[in-house]
Amino acid sequence: MNNDLESKLKHALRPVAPSDAFTQRLLARVAASRDSRPQARPTASRITRRAAWWTSAALAASVLAAVGIQHQLQTERERTLGLQARRQVIEALRVTSQKLDLAYQAVRTQSVGGDRDSGV
């Protein structure tokens, strides 16, 4: 029962995306803020803040275009990185197993009385 409930919770609580319009405003806002001083903690009402977002939406188109190109580059880069990560996983496990083998050999040698000083 617990597993069923937890499974349902995980399914129901999968992350949801905000609206495209919000994303557009967010990117524009962050891009615009990079050239200005750090923003003070907002004190304006929610309505005023939302109005400010709309005025900065003019920047969103160029930012989104850059992000679109970035996304393509990201996909290619991800493949390169993914293959590199795969090789490194293999290598990491190989090194680990090699050193585990050293320990094993020492333990086995000790158990047949050939080499002291191995402890488990």
Binding site: L5, E6, L9, L13, V16, L26, R29, A31, A66, Q70
Partner: protein
């Protein structure tokens, strides 16, 4: 064997730290679902969630110099998003119910064969304390284990486990009650 080139998954992170807008945008796109969903399910209203999400990413863009890796960034975003949400909820009047926007889906597509589940979950979340709500979301939305949740929220692991146990028990109880009501309605 020659030294393998170290992987630089933090390419976007490095570029973002250098101030490249496209890289910062890529980081936002990669993480906005998680941050927005946490904000939405903590605060229960879309406009509040959007405000909080914006605040988090604005702070992120100012704090990139202190972020060491993508893993660290994920931790940082979760920590800042949940703590800010908790602070907001605690500042509200304790007699004010957390508003649930009936028209804004807080969850993904409704599960077939169990249409009441999301409604119960929504009601259950609204009844939880801010910390307990955060624990539930970090566990089932973000798939963190109790130790990671404890580190994110800076509370003891036992407190996390206690919140989870109580939340699950309350949900089971609520669902069992709803099941009984459904059966009774059928027989009327």
């Amino acid at each position: 064997m020659s030294e393998p080139r170290p992987i630089d998954i933090n390419m976007d992170l490095a570029a973002a730290r250098a101030g490249q807008p496209a890289a910062i945008g890529a980081l936002i796109l990669a993480h906005q679902r998680s941050v927005y969903s946490l904000a939405l399910r903590m605060l229960g209203a879309r406009d509040l969630a959007e405000d909080l999400t914006q605040e988090v990413f604005m702070q992120m863009s100012e704090s990139l110099h202190g972020i060491e890796s993508n893993e660290h960034l994920e931790f940082w975003l979760r920590k800042v998003a949940t703590n800010r949400a908790i602070d907001q909820l605690r500042r509200r009047s304790r007699f004010e119910m957390t508003p649930i926007d009936d028209h804004e889906p807080m969850f993904g597509p409704v599960d077939h064969g169990d249409p009441l589940f999301q409604r119960h979950l929504e009601m259950h979340l609204a009844q939880l304390s801010p910390a307990a709500r955060a624990v539930l979301l970090l566990r089932y939305q973000e798939d963190l284990d109790p130790t990671e949740i404890a580190r994110t929220l800076e509370i003891p692991v036992n407190t996390v486990k206690s919140h989870l146990t109580r939340s699950l028990d309350a949900m089971r109880h609520g669902l069992a009650g709803a099941g009984r009501e459904k059966r009774e309605d059928k027989h009327r």
